[in-house]
Assembly symmetry: C2
Homo-oligomer: 619 residues x 2
């Protein structure tokens, strides 16, 4: 097929501008990836100035086609495209990589056209799945999501999780483009320039695949993209053979040009001259297709009017069971609440939500990276997704969780079956590192309730938190110890056993709270012990706990079913350092085995019996 020559000439001009600005801004910055920008310059030109429908004055709009640069190191090309589209001024592009600029080394969502921070490769497609789902289920216009990937990142398994799920969900509004420039960072990629192998993989995963023999020929690129957006019933992958440094004859397809600016006196002048050949003296203003306008009203603001927890003091309920009513009632109060499963919905009790609100429930099957990526995509569009699985398996998605948090997205995670109290299934199923991981997330909330009421309310608290976070839940049934109207705000704690003259403050959480309360019945000097339920690990209730601990002369004993590193003991010690005079810490400090919950708790000094022995020896 052949397009109108003036159109192609204009798109060549835009591609040349993208190349030129990528070259100049990285040279100005003294670092960056201009060759990775040049391989996708023509693809970006075709997308931004012919195929995509968006409002360049309102890049954040849900009505727009969305674009994700999964190969985040080509950020300068993205910035250049938005400058050509009229949203950014060229001079701002020259603040690339400078302190304080939003024109960062890799795309960050401080720019309204960036939905997710990219730069850890292979993550964009799952995020695109989440956004494409939001377009179909929430916006309901004809908008599409385009994800531009590098060929190198197609080696990441996360990419194939997303391929699987997108086909399973029939997301024909999702278009992935693989920029096959052959060269990774250190060497040729696994498949080099064999674009057919990517096509075979995509087809086997249920996608339509369209190959482009020359990804620098705008006729070919445009034809492929225009075919792609017309496909119905399945997602489409466009696989374009390109050259790293395409358009720069001195450098194109050569080794050792990854992640290097082309500096003045070292090729920049020649490259600029070459690229400038395609620049029009008087280019027409870009004609950008408008998105379809629909009566879509975006919900904002906090979640309100959530029903109280449906539990009474004295009942025996596992904290994980509170997932069902908490998510159901949140979903009833606010249609932004979604639930993402990884084939554990019957154990995590997220199943009920899926039955009640199937249109807001995404089954990711056994693919935790997808769970996190899809959740990030939904959150980037203002929804409130809860990804729920065993706490142990969230470790599988930690890089995605990290990137979502760096993006400032309010993705919520619930991890069930935490700690050794799961018993017989053994170490592989026990989350023992989850608090350490989640506590590192900037602006993250980490909640660790001890009964069904606090579990319910912690989930509600997390839903209302404007940021990422985690609720850690347990398998065994525990007694409900709080009134259903008790609130569990961030940054606080509960004193579950007071003492008028405390000699020791016990800090604990989760099921161990109950072991401690039981233990106290066999402690002679129990009246000298106060017990803190540290349901909020982050933000840490520093002032309140400091005050309590001072009252006990700075003496603390911590009991927790987590690694000694990075859990409630570590956070207590760090936040109260200076106020502590004595610190005893019982945690899971070696590899646990299969056994009954009681046997396991006992083997780490965390059973009621062992706790009472410890306390009697201390007092």
């Amino acid at each position: 097929m052949s397009y109108d020559k003036s159109l192609i000439k204009e798109l060549e001009h835009r591609a040349a501008k993208i190349r030129l600005l990528s070259l100049q801004t990285t040279a100005e910055a003294g670092s960056g990836h201009p060759t990775s920008c040049c391989s996708c310059a023509d693809i970006l030109s075709a997308l931004f100035f012919k195929v995509m429908r968006y409002d360049p004055k309102n890049p954040a709009s849900d009505l727009n086609d969305r674009f994700i640069l999964s190969k985040g190191h080509a950020a300068p090309a993205l910035y250049a495209a938005w400058s050509e589209a009229g949203y950014l001024e060229e001079k701002e592009l020259f603040t690339l990589r400078k302190m304080g600029s939003r024109i960062e080394g890799h795309p960050m969502p401080s720019l309204p056209f960036v939905d997710i921070a990219t730069g850890s490769l292979g993550q964009g497609l799952a995020v695109g799945v989440g956004i494409a789902v939001q377009q179909k289920k929430v916006v309901k216009n004809s908008s599409r999501t385009f994800v531009l990937m590098g060929d190198g990142e197609a080696a990441e398994g996360s990419v194939w999780e997303a391929f699987s799920l997108a086909a399973n969900l029939n997301l024909d509004n999702l278009i992935a483009i693989i920029d096959v420039n052959r060269l990774g960072q250190s060497r040729e990629t696994m498949h080099g320039h064999d674009i057919q192998v990517y096509a075979r993989k995509a087809k086997a995963f249920g996608w339509e695949a369209i190959v482009v023999d020359d990804g620098h020929d705008l006729n070919q690129v445009l034809e492929a993209l225009e075919r792609a957006v017309k496909v119905n019933g399945k997602p489409v992958c466009v696989i374009a053979k390109t050259l790293k440094g395409g358009g720069l004859p001195q450098i194109a397809d050569k080794d050792n040009w990854h992640g290097k600016p082309i500096m003045p006196g070292q090729g920049l002048e020649e490259a600029v001259q070459e690229v400038s050949k395609h620049i029009m003296q008087a280019p027409p203003a870009p004609v950008i297709a408008k998105p379809e306008s629909v009566s879509f009203k975006k919900i904002t603001g906090p979640i309100n009017n959530v029903e109280p927890a449906p539990y009474k003091k004295g009942e025996k309920v596992a904290t994980r069971q509170a997932v069902a009513p908490a998510l159901l009632n949140l979903g009833k109060s606010d249609s932004r609440v979604w639930v993402i499963d990884g084939d554990t919905q019957n154990s995590t009790y997220s199943q009920k939500f899926g039955e009640q609100y199937p249109e807001r429930f995404v089954e990711c099957f056994i693919a935790e990276q997808n769970m996190a990526g899809v959740s990030a995509g939904l959150a980037s569009r203002g929804l409130i997704p809860f990804a729920v699985t065993f706490g142990a398996f969230l470790a599988r998605a930690f890089d995605q969780i990290r990137m979502a948090a760096l993006s400032g997205l309010g993705v919520k995670f619930i991890g069930t079956h935490a700690g050794i109290s799961i018993g017989e299934d053994g170490a592989s199923q026990m989350a023992l590192e989850d608090l350490a991981s989640f506590a590192t997330l900037p602006n993250g909330a980490v909640l660790y309730p001890s009964d069904a009421v606090s579990a319910y309310n912690c989930i509600v608290t997390l839903a209302k938190h404007n940021g990422p976070g985690y609720v850690r839940l347990s398998r065994p049934a525990s007694e409900v110890i709080y009134n259903s109207n008790e609130e569990f705000p961030l940054g606080d704690l509960k004193v579950v056993k007071e003492s008028s003259s405390p000699a020791i403050t016990i800090v604990t959480a989760g099921v161990i709270v109950h072991e401690v309360l039981k233990a106290l019945k066999n402690v002679a000097a129990a009246d000298k012990i106060q017990v803190v339920d540290l349901y909020c690990v982050k933000p840490f209730p520093k002032d309140r706990l400091t005050e309590l601990v001072k009252a006990s002369g700075g003496k603390i004993v911590v009991f927790e079913e987590h690694s000694p590193n990075g859990g409630i003991g570590a956070e207590t010690a760090r936040n109260l350092a200076g106020a502590i005079t004595s610190f005893k810490h019982f945690a899971v400090d070696s590899v646990p085995r299969s056994g009954t919950p009681d046997e396991l708790l006992s083997s780490f000094g965390l059973s009621a019996e062992k706790i009472s022995e410890t306390l009697n020896s201390l007092l």
Copy 2:
């Protein structure tokens, strides 16, 4: 094809025994996954009693075909197979899931036939890739590696990373078997009983694919497996359609039987009766093919005679540059040392090793889960693999790292480009959570050197450590401050600035050591400050640091380029709680941006200038 009837009858007997023991032991335990055992009983029978070549008296032997049960929840079937093979006594099987037993809920390497703990799904194949590589490159006999996967876990991206790499390495000694029993934990899998879709995926990923229409027909299963082991030049995937609970007509292929024992009075008797129909009264002793014997001598014991670090005091060298000589010299001293790359070898300096020892270098491309899985496979066979990439990207493999550590495997990780001092590339490339993650590993070592000499020696120390571990390295060049013969043992620290009357102890590490030393030149009361280079974060040098801190009246200031959670500040506070009277902590407590290293360090109070301001205000 039709096999000898007596052979099939015997294999049906073995399959029946596997079913019977799986039913009985899970009923005895009161928990477990008998239906998942039954779907693969016939496959296990064919493998263990006809196809595989191994010495049942020496299950750990490198000469054996190796077997990995990636679907670890079918552990009782694995135990039953080894009991039928004569290695385990049946009565031990009845200790399943009981405290102290090695017959755990999911397979653990305390059993010599278990190379890797499984139970977090989708991890077995990458480990199998590592073992298959060891067989080809080290053992050099005709041994094969068999990996039995569930269909549900084929949704995990890690599986497809391993598929890619195995084909790239032409591992025709690797046979994956997918037990397509249709049912996941909570619902039907994505592809149900469509075995052809798995075949298409496997073929697109460069594998031979063989489908088995009835995975309970031993003629079909045997024929497929015998075809599989004859394929040359590429790995083979056998895809068998089975029924969850296959062989138990009352339960087979029914929902809601995942992870549930069939208890007496609730179907056990009928199931046992059904299964027992295939049990022979006088079965022949199993005839197990012997592995090919080769003159393979396994190296054991510590690494010796590593050359000293090739650096002189005063040189300016980035700690990451020490990767090249350290790995080269380790590789020269001991052929067990391998290096695993994820397409960052030119930035991490692991490239030199690959040039010198290409046969001990595995390029995983951009697939960090593969890096960890392959490393675990190599380590399970007694090798000493170093997986080297940017510290930030190791977050991608944290679940695999966790499982390798639970397995007690000595997998070594090196993470470069840690912290904000990488500068312009921005937050996505900055490891800020790595210390928190790695410190949770049982028996793990976590090292964080400050100059090229300590980096070199920390890598050597980690190589000699009998367990997993991590070395955190930095991008910027720093002055060499240690003599090349200085030792850096686990569990110690260095005092880089002494004070005869200390009022403050500074605890720091990595590039911040140099910022602190520079800062002291502008601190009036510098003589009252002692500075600790905490190069070993785990095991923590508790006694020595306590003594030092007591000398400074318990006053500590920590400077680190890591999240405040779980890093050296948190570990210092936890280990020294009670000995600390004052604790100031400067860390990376919000999302960093692009900027120069100096600007970034300054923005978090970690530059020499800011540090001297802080210290002057304190003294």
